[in-house]
Symmetry: C2
Subunit: 319 residues, 2 copies
């Protein structure tokens, strides 16, 4: 029988030159660079709730880290370290090896070191905690959006939701659309470079994990503002063209799991945001604007200037 | 239906004056005090593996934090912050309220602030990540024990294992012994003050979570040493007197879940360790000594000076 310690040593112990002490003691030891604050985020992913139990382990290894790095991106933090706690029903070495490949592929892509964690037997569950740095006072918060700011979003929110709908048999996508949308679901790209570039530019930021409307709601609540979004300005892509328009709109507004960044920025910084899109080769769409708190928190405006109702508002794990 | 966010707000959001940003954004922000390193530890606890699914939620709330604080104690770190990620099969508000009471009771006792986490639906699972501070270079590691050091242990390892044996019907304890041992299992007291006092005194430390022999093995492996333990010197208590001697020895040597500290210290510091026991009103037993790496990593010596074999060596979640 291969023991827990052997498996951890073989697959999860790598050099951690950026930490004072890495895997293998009661705790890890780190120190943020002078002049920096430590930004911390944790996410728990459960089989059946956040991913299909038969998801390819290499994809899963990538994703459990990517969704956490997305939180650091939304804070404008530079990723540094990660902890990985996992419960598995059995110690299947091939599965663990593939999971570790995906996990470290994401870690190395983003310069993150695995400094500790925990391994136990149980229903499949991953709890990942990431640590990033931001210069003191410069991390992006949800609470600092100002009335009259533009609202921006990166990439094409809705693709992951459409990928999920396709895997669940709720729609049929052609092969390129299927590859694009399922790819967005299984292999999200955390917008780390965008997050770093938004320091000093965005007034507030959040990642689109629960759905665009729900996550915008978090900024509005924290910043005590209202907003209007123009549906026409929501970014679209070829994959969306072949699918029922109601489903596309539902995925764009309420589909989770995209890990794009939604942020607010002053109107006078529009040219800088547009230049950033060029620099990063990443679509940044201006989709609405904030306003003082009003009788309604969020208004959706269609092409004719009329207000429309979204069908559902977001994803709540307990509702 | 009460939503996830409502429940989190109601039960898990408290003031966090020691953090720069607490619960409610994509991440938390902290900064260790100048001249300090950040010590980080994470543990995942799963129903059925680490605790009985019907454990009183208030006890469980205490324990999931206590076992993590024990890791900080073993590093000689001062507890500061905690993240709590939990998966629950349903949002049972009474259960959550009781769990939160136990969790915050432990947090307040140890001056720890809850700065973030995650809540999701799934088989019951708790992943707790704790953060402590230690002055630069002073954290206790497993790897710095020296040949010829004394080996010390706090309290009475074996009580939690005996409590578990009793709950599993493997032994019968009288009422006071039952209360003591089951109490040790359900409501462990992390040795935080001891850990802090051991800075500059112990050469290496570990907490007894997997069993005394297994955890001593971690120090020996990391420090490249061997050791001998004298069975006679292992601390005992009234609860042990009424139980089968083999079971007691098994619990003392291999029972997990005690969260006492096992540490090494130079012989010339014996008086300081003994004085510390008085100061903290906590038994500290000198149970053996380390030696250079030899033909055998660990020798157990009985009252007659003969070597004995332990029945099992520790707890491995995957063996």
């Amino acid at each position: 029988v291969t023991s827990e310690f052997d498996l951890i040593n073989r697959y999860f112990r790598r050099a951690t030159p950026g930490a004072l002490l890495g895997v293998g003691d009661d705790g890890a030891i780190v120190q943020p660079k002078p002049g920096n604050e430590l930004v911390i985020s944790t996410d728990m992913l459960v089989a059946g709730t956040h991913f299909f139990p038969d998801t390819d382990p290499q994809d899963l290894g990538w994703k459990v880290l990517a969704v956490n790095l997305s939180d650091l991106a939304a804070m404008g933090a530079l990723p540094r370290w990660v902890l990985l706690a996992l419960a598995l029903p059995a110690a299947d070495e091939d599965w663990i090896a593939a999971f570790a490949r995906g996990f470290f592929s994401c870690a190395e892509t983003h310069g993150v070191e695995l400094i500790g964690g925990d391994t136990t037997r149980g229903p499949m569950n991953f709890c990942v905690t990431v640590f990033g740095e931001a210069p003191t006072g410069e991390a992006l918060r949800r609470s600092d959006a100002q009335a009259g700011d533009d609202i921006w979003v990166s990439g094409q929110p809705g693709r992951a939701g459409l990928g999920l709908a396709s895997l669940q048999g709720r729609c049929v996508l052609d092969a390129p659309a299927q590859a694009e949308c399922v790819g967005a679901l299984l292999h999200p790209l955390p917008r780390v470079r965008l997050g770093l570039a938004l320091r000093g530019l965005a007034t507030a930021a959040v990642d689109v994990s629960d759905g665009l409307l729900a996550d915008l709601g978090h900024i509005l609540e924290a910043s005590k503002l209202s907003a209007s979004l123009t549906l026409e300005s929501l970014p679209t892509c070829n994959a969306f063209a072949t699918v029922d328009a109601d489903l596309v709109q539902d995925c764009m507004l309420s589909g989770g799991d995209d890990y794009e960044l939604l942020f607010t920025a002053p109107i006078n910084l529009r040219p800088r945001v547009e230049a950033l899109a060029d620099t990063l080769q990443l679509a940044l769409a201006r989709i609405g604007s904030t306003a003082p708190k009003g009788y309604k928190t969020l208004r959706l405006i269609d092409a004719k200037g009329a207000e429309v109702q979204p069908t559902r508002l977001g994803y709540d794990h307990f509702s």
